[in-house]
């Protein structure tokens, strides 16, 4: 049963990552926390891609999640990590619930460009709003966990552990969703909307639901990223950030719910190493990685793992 295998694999992966919490060097803790945050956004993209949609504007919800979490902490003074993360998810899902009414009517390049346009509108608003720090954004201070405030290094480790648990739970939830009737229905919609309508169900409703789910996951990832970095700025909403998520989706592959996290970890590692050894050409490094990937591993890095698991 591939379903049980995925569940088991998620449990093992989460256990391995949790085991590294006390020992991993700080740079790795930070890198992996950020990778898990971005992996969550890409997990949402995978749900959309199953439905046949590619969003080049997922930064909209990533940024909304980041800003909502940061605002709750820095402006409302509520520094509880759980509350801030919840605020990120709710803000993203609420906006998606409205914009989804429009977006769920579009497909293909129209969906992709419209999602990009909406994200750039928010970018424009953030850049212009001096109350939110314009292009500089603003910092947020130490978060607390259930009322307990920890020292810097310990706090980052605990937060990393929280991210591992959240990512594993989200991946498992999406896995169960995609393995259910509704996951199959998403693929059916990608293949043939006409037939789905003629079978007596609403294509719009399924696309809408998946759009909101993807946005909620992006908001969750955005909140984690904001709390990990301790800073938010309009860059979170910018189209290059959205492009990064699509890049990671292609890098990891869309065949398994763990693939986005693998892709995000490799992406962050390439970026970190590239920045260190060849700071001015790291985009070129990414470009070359992408080219090689499309030529030799069109189903993403996950296909390397899948080959080993299946045999």
């Amino acid at each position: 049963m591939s379903r049980d295998r995925t569940t088991a694999m998620l449990l093992v992966a989460a256990a391995v990552l949790l085991a590294t919490v006390p020992f991993a060097p700080q740079w790795l803790v930070f890198l992996l926390t950020l990778a898990l945050a971005k992996g969550l956004v890409v997990l949402g993209l995978v749900v959309l891609m199953r439905t046949g949609l590619v969003s080049f504007g997922q930064g909209l919800y990533f940024g909304l999640g980041a800003y909502a979490a940061a605002l709750l902490g820095a402006r409302a003074g509520l520094l509880d990590a759980a509350a801030m993360i919840l605020a990120g998810v709710v803000a993203a899902a609420a906006v998606a619930a409205v914009l989804g009414l429009l977006m769920a009517r579009y497909r293909d390049i129209f969906f992709a460009m419209l999602s990009l346009a909406l994200s750039m509108i928010l970018y424009g608003l953030l850049v212009k709003s001096s109350a939110l720090g314009s292009t500089d954004g603003f910092n947020l201070h130490a978060k607390s966990f259930a009322g307990i405030v920890l020292s810097g290094g310990t706090e980052r480790r605990v937060f990393y552990a929280v991210a591992v648990v959240a990512a594993a739970a989200a991946a498992w939830g999406v896995h169960r969703y995609l393995a259910s009737h509704y996951g199959r229905l998403a693929t059916a919609i990608r293949d043939n909307e006409l037939r789905v309508e003629y079978l007596g169900t609403s294509v719009f409703r399924v696309v809408y639901a998946n759009y909101v789910v993807a946005a909620a996951l992006a908001g969750l990832g955005g909140a984690f990223a904001a709390l990990a970095v301790g800073h938010v700025d309009p860059e979170t909403v910018y189209w290059t950030t959205s492009g990064e998520f699509v890049f990671i989706a292609v890098l990891g592959g869309t065949g398994n719910v763990a693939a986005p996290f693998l892709g995000a970890a490799i992406f962050e590692a390439v970026r970190t190493i590239g920045n260190q050894y060849a700071p001015n050409v790291w985009q070129m490094t990414l470009g070359i990685v992408m080219l090689l990937l499309i030529l030799f591993l069109p189903s993403g890095l996950w296909s390397l793992v899948a080959k080993r698991v299946r045999t």
């Binding site: 009737h181 059916a188 293949d191 037939r195 079978l199 007596g200 609403s202």
Partner: protein, 253 residues
């Protein structure tokens, strides 16, 4: 007579092209009706209007007391009218079994919306295997629908239409693109599936042997009008039908 489907005064035009000109049709319950006519005569337009894909310019189409012309295809399906397509509409990346599972799943997940159905999510797997068995699709169950031979695609397309337990089933050229010896096999399976189940069948067909063998009544279309309506033997002998539909050059010589 107790008609299950009634079209009255139905007109449809696409710009200057008239696809339906004052159609008045009453279809009796549990009858098997063949629709014939040359390409462009208005057969598929009629099927599309009944199933909500096209709205008539004027006129009404009623199924069992429900006005269908204002409804979306999914509502028409839920009421108990379903169809197959001339070009099979399948989920090409899904296997044959998954295609049927999607269909069964939709019906089972929204049982409350349906006119009549005993499907529940718990029964989905069993119901899917029943359909595979009944339509002889077992040998292809794990093959992606996109890689099937045309005859099997046609069969799967018809099976998908039957999953929703329709009371009126419209088949758009169920035997086109299928080898001569498979034509009767497909129709036999359809007839076996609907027998005794209170299903009315309308099928668009170009093969007059299939019409003569399965239809109890034939409607002949030409230029959006019905030019003949009756038993197959009578309609197929009609000089206008022979000229416009069957295309005999010497029909009126």
């Amino acid at each position: 007579m107790n008609p299950v489907l009634v079209a009255s005064g139905v007109n449809k035009s696409f710009g200057a092209v008239i696809a339906a000109a004052d159609l008045n049709i009453a279809i009796e319950r549990e009858s098997i009706v063949g629709l014939i006519g040359a390409n462009g005569a208005g057969k598929t337009t009629f099927v599309n209007m009944v199933t909500g894909y096209l709205k008539p310019t004027t006129g009404s189409i009623r199924f069992d007391g429900h006005e269908l012309t204002r409804l979306e295809p999914r509502r028409v399906t839920q009421l108990g009218v379903s169809r197959s397509f001339q070009i099979p509409q399948l989920f090409n990346s899904l296997s044959v079994r998954e295609n049927l599972l999607v269909a069964v799943g939709i019906v089972a997940a929204a049982a409350h919306a349906w006119a009549h159905s005993d499907l529940t999510p718990a029964r989905a797997d069993g119901a899917t295997d029943e359909m595979l068995e009944r339509f002889g699709l077992g040998a292809y169950r794990d093959r992606p629908a996109g890689l099937l031979p045309e005859g099997v695609r046609k069969l799967l397309d018809v099976a998908m239409g039957l999953v929703t337990r329709p009371r009126v089933l419209l088949l758009d050229e169920p035997t086109s693109g299928v080898s001569a010896d498979e034509k009767f096999a497909i129709m036999d399976l359809v007839m076996a599936a609907v027998r005794g189940a209170d299903v009315t069948v309308l099928f668009v067909e170009h093969d007059m042997d299939v019409i003569a063998r399965y239809a109890a009544r034939v409607l002949a279309f030409a230029d959006g009008r019905i030019i003949a309506d009756g038993a197959p033997a009578d309609v197929l002998r009609d000089p206008e039908v022979r000229r416009y539909v069957i295309g005999e050059a010497d029909a009126h010589a």
